[in-house]
Each structure stands twice: as structure tokens, then as C-alpha cells.
């Protein structure tokens, strides 16, 4: 009887201790940068979720990304059980990936109350930003100027921009065409995009966009080289000039196609280039920074540059070799202008912030190229920066967990020789020596 009581008491204590530890879990995070500990901002955000929020991370099972994703997402689930998650291998479940339009690894899809927002990486900042945008509960308008030969947002051909439109919809933006020949920029536009016009905008449109931009507006200009459209009237007030021509980069281009430039240099610390490793910018023109000195609030970030050997060919229809008429590299390929100043208003002082992003190319955002390299990431970063959603969650910067170690045949041989050969052999040798010593002592004793 006494034994039964002891067993029951032990069982109850054991279960109780586990339940208490489960409900009041605390942890010490020794990983680099404590990357598995949610910041206080993220915890309060997760607690604010009131109905089921489903997070699906598409990650390759190789290399530990999927297991890291599962562990990180379980932290969100611990804070709020309404946040559920799954980690899916897109290669093992291609139909699910296709249904959600997943084209790249490490994409996270978050859905909440019938709305969807994608995150471009499985890290706390990206996931928490996606959750915050879901909780905001509203879709913002992305206004596209049309009527000048721009690629269509409905066009699913390689030269169309249907994938750009889909990417925006997956991030709580609704693409919408606007006609500025008859009126001003609608007040509900999160930003205005001039994406690849081939015909010039009429003065009425230029005035409407410039007027909107100067009143804390947000403009995204994707220029088109070798066309009649001149983006300079839109860019000049923001310290940027479109040099036109064609960027030729013998060092960083796809195959031997020297005007199909691969940008690998991102000199600024602007959030637009966060997580962007390489950009493919085919048949683009160059940009120049020409900031007026009497605008102290205006800063122009050099987002992407070509290699030093690149140049802007000013006569691409005649020749493509560097000469005195060309502009030497490194060539500026994309810029971000931010003009902030304080205005005295009836309610007090207010910071007025205008933002303009310029890219000397529009082909990078078409269906043919948007899925390549970091182009899609750059697009969404740019849109979020324009809409001031780039720092929704103030988490501390975490170091990257990429620690490459290519397993060469030499390294594999070394690991096997030491761990499978040398150390077990030493154990056996020490054991045999110990055994024979013991037998010898016993023999002497006998």
C-alpha cells in the first residue's frame, strides 16, 4: 500500500512540475544574436492576435532552414495559441506551393481573417512585419499611371507585369490604374508608380505627380531607356537625373550579354536593399545624383551600382564599346530620395516626408525577370519603404546564420580519418592496454 502511495505521489508531483514548467516556460538563448528569443515588440504584437492567424513557411528541408523556421514559429505559437504554423517543403508539395504562387524558398505566407501577407524570409523581423500588416486590417492602393505604353498589370506574358501585381496583392496592396490627365493623384494612393512608359507623360500628368510628391507623396519611377519617355521632369526635383543610354557591364552580366547587368553592389544602408544580394537589371539606363545644395532635408541613397568597369553607352544604337562620349562606371542603377522637413500646421509642427525611388530600368520588374535573383525582394522592400512600412517592428538586428562550409573530398576524408579512425582506435588501444595490465596484476596476485 505504501509503495502505491509513493508511486502516485511521485507521479502527481512529476506531472505538476511539467505542467507548471510548460505554462511558465523561460529560456536562456545562447544562439548567436539570441535569434530564437522574440523581442518584446514581437511578443506584444503576437498577443494582439484575436482570431486564428495561420503562418505557412515554404522552406527546403536541407541545411536546417526548415527546422529553424519551425522552432522560431513555435515561439509565436507559445505566446499566442491562435497563431498556428506549418513548414512546407515546396518540392515535396508542389501543388500547395503553386496554389499560393510560391516561386522561391524561404517565403512565408501569413493569413488572417481572409487577408494574406507574404514575408520574404523566415526571420523574426519579416514575420512580425507581416503579422502587423495583417492586424492593420486594411489594403492600401498602389496607383499605376497608365496610357503611355507601360507593361500591363494584367498581362501574363513574359513582358507583362502580372507577377508584380500578384506580389503586391500578397502584401496587402491593391494595384489600381489611375488616369492623371483628368485629375490629381487620388488621396487613397499609398504610392504612385510610373512603371516603364515608352511614350512621354503630358505636362498635366507631370504636374500632378510632382505636386503630389511635394505634399508628402511617394513615387516609384522605373525608367525605360531607348524610348520617347523622359523621366527627368519627375526625378529632377529629388536630386536624381536619368542619364539614359544603356549600361554595359563586362564584369557583372549574365553570360556574355553585357547589357544584362547583375548588380552586386549596394552601397547604402537603406532598408530597400535589406536581404537583397543580387539584382538582374537587363537593358537599363544609368542614373546620376544631382542633389540641389539648397535642400538640406533631401538625401539621396545610392541603392544599386554596377561594377567599376561598367559604363553608360550613350550611343547603343551605333556601338557598345567605351569611348569619350560614354559615362564611366561604377554606374548608378537605382536611387532612393527622401525629403523630410518640418512644417508648421494648425495642430502644431509636423514632419512632412516625400519619398521617390528611381530605377533606370523597368524590364527587371516584368514577369520574365521578377522571379530572378533578389528582384522580387527589392520590389517589395521598395514598396514598403515608400509606404513607410519598412520598420513596422523595431527588432534588433540579428547576425546572419549563414555559415558556409563546403564539404570537399579532402575535408570529408579528414573528418572520417579522425572521428572514425583515430579516436576509436585510441579508445580500443587504451582499453586493451588496461585489460592486459589488469590481467598481469591478477596473474601476479595469484
Amino acid at each position: 500500500m505504501r509503495r502505491v502511495i509513493v508511486a502516485v505521489v511521485a507521479l502527481v508531483v512529476l506531472l505538476g512540475a511539467n505542467v507548471v514548467a510548460y505554462r511558465n516556460d523561460r529560456q536562456i538563448d545562447l544562439s548567436a544574436g539570441s535569434r530564437f528569443t522574440l523581442s518584446p515588440e514581437t511578443r506584444s504584437l503576437a498577443k494582439a492576435v484575436r482570431s486564428e492567424l495561420k503562418v505557412t513557411a515554404f522552406a527546403s528541408p536541407k541545411g536546417g532552414v526548415a527546422t529553424d523556421a519551425r522552432f522560431l514559429l513555435s515561439r509565436y505559437h507559445q505566446v499566442n495559441r491562435r497563431i498556428t504554423f506549418s513548414v512546407v517543403d515546396p518540392d515535396a508539395h508542389p501543388t500547395q506551393a503553386a496554389r499560393l504562387g510560391i516561386t522561391q524558398y524561404a517565403t512565408v505566407v501569413a493569413t488572417y481573417q481572409g487577408r494574406r501577407v507574404d514575408a520574404a524570409d523566415v526571420d523574426e523581423l519579416e514575420i512580425s512585419t507581416a503579422i502587423l500588416r495583417l492586424l492593420r486590417g486594411k489594403t492600401r492602393n498602389a496607383c499605376f499611371v497608365t496610357g503611355h505604353g507601360e507593361p500591363s498589370l494584367d498581362d501574363t506574358s513574359p513582358d507583362g507585369m502580372s507577377q508584380l501585381a500578384a506580389a503586391l496583392r500578397h502584401n496587402a496592396y491593391e494595384p489600381r490604374a489611375v488616369d492623371l490627365t483628368k485629375g490629381d493623384v487620388p488621396a487613397d494612393c499609398a504610392f504612385v508608380a510610373v512603371a516603364g512608359p515608352t511614350d512621354p507623360l503630358v505636362q498635366r500628368e507631370v504636374d500632378a505627380i510632382n505636386g503630389y510628391a511635394s505634399r508628402a507623396g511617394r513615387v516609384f519611377v522605373m525608367a525605360t531607356p531607348a524610348s520617347n519617355a523622359d523621366p527627368n521632369p519627375l526625378l529632377a526635383p529629388w536630386g536624381v537625373r536619368f542619364a539614359g543610354g544603356l549600361v554595359i557591364d563586362p564584369d557583372r552580366s549574365q553570360n556574355l550579354d553585357f547589357d544584362n547587368v547583375i548588380a552586386e553592389s549596394f552601397p547604402s544602408a537603406n532598408p530597400v536593399t535589406r536581404g537583397v544580394s543580387r539584382l538582374q537589371l537587363p537593358a537599363g539606363g544609368g542614373l546620376l545624383v544631382d542633389a540641389p545644395k539648397d535642400r538640406p532635408g533631401l538625401t539621396v541613397s545610392r541603392l544599386a551600382e554596377s561594377s567599376a568597369r561598367a559604363f553608360v553607352e550613350t550611343r547603343p544604337d551605333i556601338e557598345t564599346t567605351f569611348d569619350a562620349l560614354d559615362i564611366p562606371g561604377p554606374v548608378l542603377l537605382a536611387t532612393a530620395s527622401d525629403d523630410s522637413h518640418v512644417e508648421q500646421q494648425a495642430t502644431g509642427e509636423k514632419i512632412v516626408r516625400s519619398r521617390v525611388i528611381a530605377v533606370g530600368d523597368a524590364a527587371w520588374a516584368t514577369n520574365r525577370y521578377l522571379g530572378n535573383l533578389s528582384n522580387a525582394r527589392f520590389l517589395l522592400n521598395a514598396v514598403n519603404w515608400l509606404a513607410e512600412e519598412e520598420q513596422l517592428v523595431a527588432t534588433t538586428s540579428r547576425p546572419a546564420n549563414d555559415r558556409p562550409l563546403p564539404l570537399t573530398p579532402e575535408r570529408q576524408r579528414r573528418v572520417l580519418i579522425v572521428s572514425v579512425g583515430v579516436v576509436p582506435s585510441l579508445i580500443v588501444a587504451a582499453g586493451v592496454a588496461g585489460l592486459s595490465l589488469r590481467r598481469r596484476r591478477r596473474g601476479r596476485g595469484a
Partner: protein, 233 residues
């Protein structure tokens, strides 16, 4: 306590000065080396893919080590001598637990060559290596306590080893069930399975929930061993 340490010392020496102990040690380290090569095929200097299988293999190693604790003594006819000696049952259990766990930890210590090899080739995150070994120490103590209870309940070393392996494998398998469940049953299955509590150690975190789980398992094993021995006395 001195009696417990004497029992532990005798078990420890008894293991490493037998062909079985030498073979088990060398074999475990060799398998850990193969596991490292498989892990490094991800071309990343991270050891979570190495520690993961090690936790599982430690269960099998402990099953082999603890079968000797009581079942082997009974087969050799020395258990009766041990139980009737002027030593308290608690000291016997503590001595056997220290002996078994120390044997397993000595073997695991030899695997430190694997993280060292990785640090000579790249810069792995040190946190998960520290917590991985902390987790292995906790798992060894917990699994050893379970193994002692099974070993005390049977007179056959083979049955003891198979029984311990079955109990531990069963616990791991419960975690697999959780994937097809929802709600409270899912949480329960996850909490019972060692696999759930290993993940944090692999990522570099020391969680109260995980530590309490393994300490609780160790306590349960010790209490069960004590109860079985009392009934046999």
C-alpha cells in the same frame, strides 16, 4: 554517499575494462563521426543535424549500459549480495545511476572531437554546441534512470536492454503521433516525446520546460527503481 560512489566506481571500471565496454565506446564514437559527415553534407558549419541523431543514439547506448546494472548482477548471482549488504537502497540506486551515467558521459566526451573538427574548418555557432552537450548530459541521466528501473525489474540483461530501448523508442514514437492530432491530445503527445524537448538544445536554447522534462524523467526512473528494489528485498 561513500557507498554510492564505491558502487559507481566499481561499475565504471567494470565497463571500460571489458571487451563490451571498449567496443561500445569505440563504436559509438565511430558512428558519431559518420553522422558528422552526413550532417556536413548540408555545406553549413552547423551541428544541429549531428546532435539530433546523437540524442537518439544515446538512448540505445544507455539501454546497453544499464542492462548490466541489476539484471547482469542477478544473472551473475551478486544482486542478492548487494541488496543484503549494509547499504541503503537509495545508495544502491544512486551508485548505479552515477555509474551508468558516468560511463555514458565518458563515451560522449570522446565525441567532442567532432565539433572541434568543424571549428578547424569554419566558424560554427558556439551556443548550440554548448546547449547540445548540456542536453546530452540531461538526456543521459534521464535515460539511465529509466534503464535502471527496467534493469531492476528483470533478471535477463537482454530483456533489460530490449525493454529500455522499447520504452525510449515508444516515447519517441508518441511524438510522431502528435503530427496527426490536434488540441490537447497533440500537446500531450508532444510533451511526452523526448524529441520535442531536444529541439531547443539543438538550436542553442536552454528552456525550463525541457530541463524539467528530463529531470522529471530521471526522478521518475529513480523512484521506480527504488520501488522495484524494495519489492525484491
Amino acid at each position: 554517499m561513500r557507498a554510492a560512489l564505491t558502487i559507481a566506481r566499481r561499475d565504471l571500471a567494470g565497463l571500460f575494462l571489458t571487451p563490451f565496454g571498449i567496443g561500445a565506446s569505440a563504436g559509438f564514437v565511430a558512428v558519431s563521426g559518420v553522422a558528422l559527415v552526413i550532417d556536413l553534407r548540408g555545406n553549413q558549419a552547423r551541428l544541429d543535424g549531428w546532435f539530433g541523431p546523437l540524442f537518439f543514439l544515446v538512448g540505445l547506448l544507455v539501454a546497453l549500459l544499464t542492462m548490466r546494472a541489476f539484471a547482469d548482477e542477478e544473472r551473475a548471482g551478486t544482486l542478492e549480495l548487494l541488496l543484503t549488504a549494509p547499504v541503503r537502497p537509495a545508495e544502491v540506486v544512486a551508485g548505479k545511476l552515477i555509474g551508468s551515467a558516468a560511463s555514458a558521459l565518458a563515451i560522449i566526451a570522446c565525441t567532442a572531437v567532432c565539433p572541434w573538427l568543424v571549428t578547424t574548418m569554419a566558424q560554427p555557432d558556439g551556443g548550440p554546441i554548448v546547449t547540445g552537450y548540456v542536453g546530452l548530459v540531461l538526456a543521459v541521466v534521464a535515460f539511465s534512470a529509466v534503464g535502471l528501473a527496467v534493469s531492476a525489474a528483470t533478471g535477463s540483461p537482454l530483456v533489460a536492454a530490449a525493454g529500455t530501448a522499447a520504452v525510449l523508442l515508444g516515447a519517441w514514437s508518441v511524438g510522431l503521433l502528435a503530427a496527426s492530432l490536434t488540441g490537447l491530445p497533440k500537446v500531450l503527445c508532444e510533451q511526452i516525446a523526448p524529441g520535442t524537448h531536444v529541439v531547443g538544445f539543438l538550436r542553442g536554447t536552454l528552456s525550463l520546460d525541457d530541463v524539467v522534462y528530463f529531470l522529471g524523467m530521471a526522478a521518475a526512473g529513480v523512484v521506480a527503481t527504488g520501488l522495484v528494489l524494495r519489492s525484491r528485498r
